[in-house]
Each structure stands twice: as structure tokens, then as C-alpha cells.
């Protein structure tokens, strides 16, 4: 099942995808364009942990001039406040020269994970989504890199449109999830990869993080992006897509 969280007439409602429409929990059916999309996440009582990966695809690591792939995951943490929904606008700061999208498979934790072994890790995934983890490279500094000024900006992490139940996706694609991942800028294909090329796959990441930190239901792991990132200018329409999950649309605006 594909879940969404949307605003209709000022009310926040949960919905599922049904026959190309949104079926709201109150029974109404509406078209995709009639709502404002939020990140497809259930509220949590404590701040959501949003973990993200850098350099998790061999080709992207090479593109960024790293001589050898990392020996352990390059992880960083983001605040939930930077998340926005499908069909929203992301702000490009004035005067920057290189702002790029990053199409990423997003893992939503389904149940509390602590010291989970890789072989059991998929039992702890509740659902999957698509994240576009924008970076503004002008602001990179070599202190806790990638630093939050690059990676934790308002509006710079679109997520959605759907949260797809993990059981459904694995039933269709198997445990390995070899999913095609693409980004189009103004209708032109700029990024093309496959989730099979992750250096640290989803089970490995869950084993790694849960070895020292408890992952709670609703926590997110953004699993990194393959090569093919390009600069995005105001007015550009960015569509990040992952096979079996959907297409996440975002428009760049002037700050």
C-alpha cells in the first residue's frame, strides 16, 4: 500500500493511493492535484532521527574524487524541520554556484531496532520513500563534513510522495531491492543508478546504526545517491524517482 499525508481545506489527513486517486481516511476520494502534500510520515512523540549517508554509491564516491570507497558508512544527522512534501518549493540561496539534488532511497523504521543483526534487519523496516537530499556545495567546510549549513537547510529535503509498505516492495522486488533510481531536470534525464550499487546496503546500515543507537519507529535513513548530480537553478523542476515507489517532484525557487 502507498501512504500519503496531505492537507485538504486546511486539514491534515492521511491517505492511500487508490486507482490513481487519493483515498482519504475519512472516505473521500480526491485527485493528486487537489491537495498539498506533506512528507508521508506519521507524527512521532519525540524528535524524529533523520540519518543520512554520504558517498554510499561507488560511482558517486568516484565522481567526488575519493580515491577509495569508505570503510565505514559516512553518516550525518539532519533535523526533521528541513523536510518538505511532494510538489513543494526548495529555495536556492542567493549567490551560490553549485546546488544539487540527491535522489535517495529513504528507509522508514517500522519497529524499535537495537543491536540488530544484518540478517534480521529487514524485519525492522516499516516502509520506503524517496528523498531528495539537496546540498549546497559552496558552503562545504571540513568540520563535521558534510556540515549542517550544506545539508540541513530549510526546504532542502523533499520527501515523498508516498511511503510504500516494505512488505509490498519486497514481495515485488525481493530482499535485495534492485531498484532503478533516476532524476530528471526539466524533463531531461540527468541521474540514473540502481540501489543495488550501494556500498553499504540497507541491512548493513541498520546493523551499523543500531549497534550504538536505538532506532525508533518513524526514524529515517536516507541511503545516499549515485553519480549524476548537476546544478539546479530557480525555475528548474526536479523529479527524483525510484522504481516501485514513485516520483517526487520539486521546484527550485529564489530565496
Amino acid at each position: 500500500m502507498k501512504h500519503a499525508r496531505v492537507v485538504l481545506n486546511g486539514q491534515t489527513v492521511d491517505a492511500i493511493e487508490q486507482d490513481g486517486q487519493l483515498q482519504l481516511t475519512d472516505g473521500r476520494r480526491v485527485g493528486f492535484d487537489e491537495v498539498q502534500w506533506l512528507p508521508p510520515l506519521q507524527p512521532v512523540t519525540r524528535p524524529r532521527t533523520v540519518l543520512a549517508l554520504g558517498l554510499n554509491y561507488a560511482d558517486h564516491a568516484k565522481e567526488l574524487a575519493f580515491k577509495e570507497p569508505p570503510k565505514e558508512p559516512l553518516a550525518f544527522v539532519k533535523g526533521e524541520a528541513g523536510l518538505i512534501g511532494h510538489q513543494q518549493h526548495t529555495l536556492r540561496p542567493n549567490g551560490v554556484s553549485f546546488m544539487h539534488y540527491e535522489c535517495e532511497l529513504a528507509v522508514v523504521i517500522g519497529r524499535t531496532a537495537r543491536r540488530v543483526r544484518k540478517d534480521d534487519a529487514l524485519d525492522f523496516v516499516g516502509s520506503y520513500s524517496i528523498a531528495n537530499d539537496y546540498a549546497i556545495r559552496d558552503y562545504l567546510e571540513n568540520w563535521y563534513r558534510p556540515n549542517l549549513r550544506v545539508k540541513n537547510r530549510d526546504t532542502c529535503t523533499p520527501l515523498g510522495p508516498w511511503r510504500v509498505d516494505a512488505a509490498d516492495l519486497h514481495a515485488l522486488y525481493g530482499d535485495r531491492l534492485e531498484l532503478a533510481l533516476t532524476t530528471n531536470v526539466n524533463g531531461q534525464l540527468t541521474q540514473s543508478g540502481n540501489t543495488r550499487d550501494m556500498i553499504f546496503d540497507v541491512p548493513t546500515l541498520i546493523e551499523y546504526f543500531s549497534s550504538f543507537m536505538t532506532l525508533n519507529p518513524g526514524d529515517l535513513i536516507l541511503t545516499g545517491t549515485p553519480d549524476g548530480v548537476v546544478d539546479c537553478q530557480p525555475g528548474d523542476v526536479i523529479v527524483t524517482a525510484i522504481e516501485g515507489i514513485g516520483e517526487l517532484t520539486n521546484t527550485i525557487s529564489h530565496a
Binding site: R46, T49, G79, G82, W143, Y144, M213, T214
Partner: protein, 227 residues
């Protein structure tokens, strides 16, 4: 799982190298690889919710580490931004930002400190939020750190490179702190060791601000993690 003993509910942000002494202890390496230049923007990190420990809770030191660093500080708890988006501090709370030791010399400040700072239980949180209106001059406060009852460190908030208004302005340039979010004012190193205080299993840490007793004392004991 709302814990009534924890008076915060938002994302907790910390800032590295904000005290003069910590900056000076790292300065010799700032132009070398991998850093290549001193940081220009505040060097931030996030203490995720799994790190939260209430006052009086014990904090486990994960194997194989034998020691952890104590990071006594004050957290500014944010209210809703005002109409123009300007940040508004609602109050202050005592915090103990615990870390596995990592240093500038061993390139420990190069990559985000997730494995050093986001271990379960690694943020002690004082039980009392004091309204900002009762703290007109946070920069005048001193934070005392006692280990097993003995005064080990006094952090003078006047020694922070970015005082709170500047820190809020520089952070607000790229992200909006939400109501309930917490911004730590900075950690310090001890004058004698140029490191943060360290503790081992069995130690008890008390953090207290003598000028502001309403904050209470934040006490956490340390244990060795059961493997």
C-alpha cells in the same frame, strides 16, 4: 513515550569549537589536512532523541570504551519564531552532552560525530526549564562540573566565541529553529588538560549553575554497558 522528567521536546543542536579555550586547543591543526582552514560557519551537530537521559538516570559507557567526555552546557529552548521569523528563546535547561573521546589531532572533527555523540543515553537533560525572562544575562553564568563531588571544571559562558544572539543569527541564516528545538551554547575544555573532563564507570557527575539555582542540579551516574 513522553517523559515528564524531560522538559524539552524538539531537536537538540550543539556547536563545536565555541569556547575560546577549545578553539585555541584546536587552532594548531586548523590549516592542516583534512581541515585546511578554520571553520567560518558554526560547526553544528544534532543530539538525536535516543541520546536523551533524564536527570538522575545512569548513562552507559559503550564497550569497548572505558571513558567518556563530559560536555556541560546550557541549552536555549526555543519558542515559536516571531512574525518576522526572528528566533525567540523561551528558556534555558542544563545539559550534559556526553561524547566518546575524539580530537582534532586524530581527525575526529573532520566527519560528522554520529558514532561519538549519538550513542544511547548520551545527553543528560536537567529537570527544570527556567524562563528566559529570569535569565537576562546568560553570558554572565558559570557552570560547575563536579565528578564524585569534587569540582572539576567551571565553564564561563562569557568565554564563548559566539554569544547566544550571534549564534542564533548565524544558525538562523540557513535553518529555522522550531518551537521546542534546543540550541546548546557551547562546551569547554579544562584549563589544565585542554580536554573536556572524562569519566569512567562508577563516576557521578553533577552539573550546576550557582547564579541560577532554579535550574537545579543535573546528576547522572555512569555505568559500563552490559555486553
Amino acid at each position: 513515550m513522553h517523559n515528564p522528567d524531560i522538559p524539552i521536546h524538539g531537536t537538540v543542536y550543539g556547536v563545536l569549537l565555541n569556547s575560546q579555550a577549545e578553539w585555541h586547543s584546536a587552532e594548531h591543526a586548523m590549516h592542516d589536512a583534512p581541515y585546511k582552514a578554520p571553520p567560518a560557519a558554526p560547526v553544528l551537530y544534532i543530539k538525536t532523541a535516543n541520546t536523551w537521559s533524564a536527570h538522575a538516570a545512569s548513562i552507559a559507557i559503550p564497550a569497548p570504551a572505558a571513558e567518556v567526555e563530559i560536555g556541560a552546557t546550557l541549552g536555549a529552548v526555543m519558542g515559536a519564531p516571531n512574525a518576522s521569523g526572528a528566533p525567540h528563546v523561551r528558556g534555558f535547561v542544563l545539559l550534559n552532552d556526553v561524547s566518546l573521546p575524539h580530537s582534532v589531532a586524530q581527525q575526529g572533527f573532520y566527519r560528522p560525530p554520529v558514532k561519538y555523540k549519538n550513542c544511547d543515553g548520551f545527553l543528560g537533560i536537567g529537570a527544570h526549564l527556567v524562563a528566559a525572562s529570569d535569565v537576562p544575562h546568560p553570558q554572565a553564568l558559570h557552570i560547575e562540573v563536579r565528578i564524585n563531588g569534587e569540582l572539576r571544571q567551571t565553564v564561563a559562558l562569557a568565554d564563548m566565541r559566539r554569544q547566544l544572539p550571534q549564534l542564533l543569527a548565524d544558525v538562523g541564516e540557513f535553518m529555522t529553529l522550531q518551537a521546542g528545538d534546543v540550541l546548546m551554547l557551547g562546551l569547554d575544555v579544562c584549563a589544565d588538560t585542554a580536554q573536556r573532563p572524562r569519566v569512567k564507570a562508577g563516576d557521578v557527575v553533577d552539573i550546576h549553575v550557582p547564579e541560577l539555582p532554579a535550574l537545579g542540579t543535573l546528576r547522572n551516574s555512569f555505568t559500563q554497558e552490559a555486553v
